[in-house]
Symmetry: C2
Subunit: 539 residues, 2 copies
């Protein structure tokens, strides 16, 4: 797809300039003669080049969409158009961030999507489909060429994909799928329901079906699920010349490496094209191929694969079966996508525990509620222990009501200390600095955290004593607060540091359990400890 | 570095098998004749192949370290060795996770490090150096070859790097740096203090110094900071034959692409080696090179670069200056490392707010405390408002003490709802689903979250009413809890959803501010709202 770059130009502004692709401009105004010219003059004034201009009028309002190559930031284009065209609503955005502009423009006239196709990327169309009402989205989906449609299906979330599949004839879907490599087509098939998947799979050409069926055997988050088959595979006795001839084909995804196997399909090694170039064409590949440093089985977890490749600077990692037969190749490109996906998952888990929502924009409210409510209720249930504990100390609280004032502060501080520790240890685990299987590492963590929490607890006991004394005017209340802080900071820090290790040993993702669990444990403990100390000191 | 793969073998176990590299075994036992043989028999029993075996005795204890190629998991090797050798302490681990085993073995005899070098990767040595006491770490660092040392320096954290630099003569350091490409050497130099950096830079060969000095101009987290210069650059009139000849050189990091520029160094396009192969050697590169779809300036943020490359499936992204002169190439390999780094940072930020500790294991306790304490104190300061608010309602609390019992529960629920919303929106922002600059997206989020929080708040009001009624026996207390929950869930959810957008607009990383801020806002609001409602209902 076309996406031309900027022509050479003088630097638009000091040190902060950037060149990142095309700017999308959406102009709305009351329809009047000369409007389009005025808008175009604005673009020229901003130093821009109009690549495409689409417009329609509706109920007296003109809608104009421009694709512009321009060296200045989008704000400059908005400003220049306002100066030339006067009373207009104008929004400009870099193409990669303009999904909502496209969608709003197309909502009024979805038929214009096909005019946009040569200038947009599949990712842009996904953003558009996700934002359009169903009926308009169908019109847009139907207007796409097989090649664009294929990549849109590959990138789309399940809900958008279902909409596409239900909007198009099977023959159009097949045409699109055949534009993809089998491993990419499998990504699409895997998002579909069992029935739709089987139906499409049966209609694919036999060789294609064989490869896709083979890949479908592996779960999507394993080495087998992310590996590519689109790489030249040659025999030991094949020549360098034949390998270079094969590598020319534009059909392969992996263009810099050939795989060499023996007559039983067992992996002999990999050879880089740049290496092959320095050998005579008649050399046998067996002499050139290098044994890979590491191989993985097809069921290895994709996160482990990513960690191995990053740690050992591998660009291509062969996947082999238990007889060492070559199955496929995981590339560092695949790993970049795995990492982006896993990072988004981890962020979701940590920030709000695991909300199992694939994409936010197309998700319906009922789905959002279903995804969020159960976890909230579980935590509520555990946290309700604090209410029962505090209730049982009602006699203390009613005599010294000011005690209650410090409960949130103590709980909050304990929770923060605990989640800091969780964060540090999850990060150290992720970087491979410590292992959950090493007793030594657990001891090292324990030693470090005991010393750290002693220092933090001491500071907070003093601060807490002074603060509680000032607010309550009671030394005993101050002492109760200080003592509770001292104990809970130690407890929270050690629990926070050791819980991720324990979770990993149990095969649970530490990111998804640690923070909520720590907070709840801290709250319940504070209720107990604080009220017990207060009872002893004050009654 | 050698890292041979497993020979073909029968599948070790059902579906869960994996092949991921070498197993490290560390055996300790009281020294006795025949011990080494017994251990070797154990390895053979597990179906393993001993690649290297090192041993020393100390105070009557034998320490044996084995590197083993074996198709079964490490636990199987431990078991087999125990069966053959009887009373021994044995730990086995995959090589990538055995840093602590290596370190403990080498602590008793650091001189053995050089025997390990042919079998370990640079990443393994970093793990070892980080875990050893300073004096032993120096011995190990001095024993490494320039090539390994170079990659250890590239991978090491600042503290470990400082230890290496202070342990070795300048000539050894230079020898190591010259093993790296200029862009990699710059990564090392950038970790050093100004003085050490200048001294080393001056001693490097002129051409090397020129390239490194040029790269040092760009901050490490920009396109210029992560781009590579190690790619063949040719002119428009150069031939395909010349390009293929140049690409043979093992010196280039990028082996599948050549860059084509005009006589002023302006970017004309990129050409893939596999494409070049299908043209006659005499073709001029100007006819073959393809204009890239996107280019970036050298100061573009590395996260933006990563997002662009993933979104548009780019494997190589050229960096150009404002005159469109070619500066360097960002590869998808670079992006994988950027993503791994950013993910680790985000996790640290979200789980425990930003604890600015690069590596956990080598960090001293004083550093950990310094890194953690200020943030804890700031949050404490803000959170202390709750204590002041609650104190001002002391008269209410002393008359109806049971009110206090529900405060943590309400605050906890509000905080959880808020951080769920934060998580969802940060994820949607990260995936480019919504943009912080779009008013439409903000409205879409607002609509969705109003509906979602209405549903969640309704459920929790009912649950809260029932629970508080049961615990306190007072309908009025139940109503106060239910009403507060209803209000705070709306407030927390909307604040949680909109705060990441606001942070992004202000140019702040949403991951580092949102969760603590939401929790604190929720806690203070709950104190106000709950006590106000209680005063109205109960007094």
């Amino acid at each position: 797809m076309a996406y031309s770059v900027y022509p050479p130009r003088p630097p638009p502004c000091g040190a902060g300039w950037l060149i990142t692709g095309r700017v999308v401009v959406y102009v709305r105004a009351s329809d009047r003669p000369g409007l389009l010219q005025a808008v175009s003059r604005g673009v020229t004034r901003a130093g821009g080049n109009i690549v495409l201009s689409l417009a329609y009028a509706r109920e007296g309002r003109a809608h104009i969409l421009l694709l512009v190559d321009v060296p200045s930031p989008p704000e400059g284009v908005e400003e220049a158009i306002r100066l030339e065209a006067g009373e207009v609503e104008v929004e400009a955005r870099l193409q990669g961030e303009a999904g909502d502009l496209f969608a709003r423009f197309l909502e009024g006239n979805p038929g214009l999507a096909s005019s946009l196709e040569p200038y947009l990327e599949a990712a842009d169309f996904v953003d558009i489909l996700v934002r359009l009402p169903e009926d308009k989205a169908r019109v847009v989906a139907r207007s796409l060429s097989p090649r664009t449609l294929a990549w849109v299906m590959e990138l789309a979330d399940k809900q958008t994909l279902d909409l596409i599949v239900s909007s198009l004839e099977v023959s159009r879907l097949l045409e699109a799928l055949k534009e993809l490599d089998p491993d990419e087509a499998v990504d699409v098939l895997q998002k579909l329901d069992e029935r739709a998947r089987r139906r499409l799979l049966l209609l694919l050409p036999p060789e294609y079906r064989r490869q896709a069926g083979f890949l479908l055997e592996y779960p999507p988050d394993t080495a087998g699920g992310i590996m590519t088959l689109s790489v030249p595979v040659l025999r030991v006795r094949d020549t360098v010349g034949r390998a270079l001839h094969l590598a020319r084909s534009p059909d392969y995804d992996v263009k810099d490496t050939v795989v060499v196997v023996d007559e039983d399909g067992r992996l002999v090694g990999l050879a880089e094209i740049s290496d092959l170039l320095s050998h005579p064409p008649s050399t046998q590949l067996g002499e050139v191929a290098r044994k890979p440093r590491i191989t993985v089985g097809p069921l290895e977890d994709q996160e482990t694969v990513a960690r191995l490749m990053l740690r050992y600077y591998l660009r291509r990692l062969p996947v082999v079966d238990s007889d060492y037969r070559f199955l496929g190749l995981v590339t560092i490109e695949d790993v970049a996508y795995v990492l982006a996906e896993e990072a988004a998952e981890d962020i979701a888990k940590l920030a709000g525990s695991e909300v199992p929502i694939e994409r936010y924009v197309p998700a319906r409210v009922a789905e959002l509620v279903r995804a969020r409510l159960p976890w909230l209720l579980v935590i509520y249930l555990i946290e309700s222990i604090t209410a029962n504990v505090l209730k049982s100390y009602e006699h203390v609280l009613s005599r010294v009501a000011v005690l209650a004032a410090f409960i949130p502060l103590i709980m909050g501080t304990g929770g923060n200390v605990g989640s800091q520790a969780v964060g540090l240890i999850i990060r150290a685990l992720a970087l491979g600095e410590v292992s959950e299987r090493s007793r030594d590492d657990a001891l090292l963590i324990l030693r470090k955290e005991l010393a750290t929490s002693l220092a933090i607890a001491s500071v907070f006991s003093l601060v807490g004593l002074g603060f509680a004394l000032a607010v309550s005017g009671s030394l005993k209340v101050g002492l109760a607060v200080a003592l509770t802080l001292f104990i809970i900071i130690h407890l929270a820090d050690l629990a926070g540091a050791l819980l991720p290790l324990a979770a990993r040993r149990l095969g649970i993702d530490p990111a998804s359990v640690s923070t909520p669990l720590i907070t709840t444990v801290v709250d319940v403990s504070v209720a107990f400890i604080y009220m017990t100390i207060a009872t002893i000191l004050l009654l």
